[in-house]
Symmetry: C2
Subunit: 211 residues, 2 copies
DNA sequence: GACTAATATGACTTTTAAGTCATATGACTC
DNA sequence: GAGTCATATGACTTAAAAGTCATATTAGTC
């Protein structure tokens, strides 16, 4: 956690620092990031930085925390009403919101990638803090859909949730990394949803698409 | 590429060094690996090491190369006969062989993960060297299946191949990381295959499973 | 405008680890 | 066994970058 001095700073100054850090971590990842570049880009001195944060890790965590919190907030409306909606709707909304964020703040996404890759090394606490919500949400969507009779019989919901989660993660990475254009992106999303729906929905529930 | 001196070494000595390096990179990743530990564990001196390899990166690349080459070799039989087989067979074989390798040499897999995560930073050449084979193989399987009339109409083969590739990668990671038992593993594989088949095969081609 | 507390500064210290090199040892030939 | 070449050694050099600290500046209060 940043020190009080950081929060005493004018908002704009805080944002300049956060932006510089985000640029650095998104480009180089934690291991290859450089504090001199960060303070340089922030227009503050090294000494000042260490009055705001304990160390480099503290800054990194602070950014991750900001990002995750923001994403969770954006997803809240979907999470709060999922029981009243179909799987397809919930799924598409969740996916789109994630993409939207990644889109408006591509560096958030890159940092998230770096973070995910580094997890085994020094994290865990974060996973424990946030994962229950994130990873299980598809399982919840599926459970509900199952109760509503949307799904085929005999599906292993937990497994299917993990398959879907993989698909979303990787597809999102692909779309962001390649800077896919909106039109093409909509097509990819539609195809992915169709791919999943054909596999898990009762035939009667599947919308148009490949036969 | 290692220097000639490395290849002049007795095979066992080479293997000790490779094993020490594999242990180190698999545990710490490239960025946090330490040459002193590697030479220590190898029982050679620092100076000797730099007679065998240009630098740390050279060693890392050498290991990656070994792993990829070995995997390609194991997959060759499937690749060479895929045209005569169904998609499901090709897919399952490829998946199983990958798992088998990851299973017999879990550290290969960890190193591969590290490598994959680091790609954007300093690689590319490797991707260009190996990816055409690896990534496109599912597309090839699918093309063939399509010609044979196994697939639903209207599928976007390229996209579907990328979906499948995501599923395999992530599922493999999951199975290895969690040390899933063989029986449970077979179940996961079967469910994944069923998941994919329901989505892409003509109804008449789908084997048993969820309805 | 003197006093105090909070914040800012950047040269400096410290740590870590990659990579070097002068020297030593062994192995092979005549 | 002298001469030569290949290989081995580890103390040392070098570089990079995180984090510190004595000093300076600013802001607020009387």
């Amino acid at each position: 956690m940043p020190k009080q001095t950081f929060f005493n700073l004018p908002k704009t100054k805080r944002e300049v620092i956060e932006q510089a850090a985000l640029d650095e971590f998104a480009e180089y990842g934690f291991d290859n990031s450089n504090m001199n570049r960060i303070v340089g880009a922030s227009g503050i001195s090294k000494g000042s930085f260490y009055q705001y944060f304990d160390d480099k890790k503290d800054l990194y965590y602070h950014l991750i925390d900001t990002i995750v919190t923001q994403k969770m907030k954006m997803l809240e409306p979907v999470f709060n009403t999922y029981e009243a909606n179909t799987f397809s709707y919930n799924f598409e909304e969740t996916f789109r919101i994630g993409l939207e964020l990644a889109d408006s703040k591509p560096k958030y996404y890159l940092l998230g990638e770096d973070f995910a890759a580094k997890q085994p090394a020094f994290i865990k606490e974060f996973v424990e803090k946030y994962n229950p919500l994130a990873m299980d949400i598809y399982a919840k969507f599926l459970e509900r859909a199952n109760q509503n009779g949307e799904l085929r019989e005999g599906l292993d919901i937990g497994l299917v949730a993990s398959f879907i989660s993989s698909l979303i993660n990787q597809t999102t990475v692909g779309l962001i990394a390649q800077g896919t254009q909106p039109q093409q992106r909509d097509y990819v999303i539609a195809e992915l949803i169709a791919f999943i729906e054909r596999s898990i929905l009762k035939s009667s529930e599947v919308r148009g698409g490949a036969t």
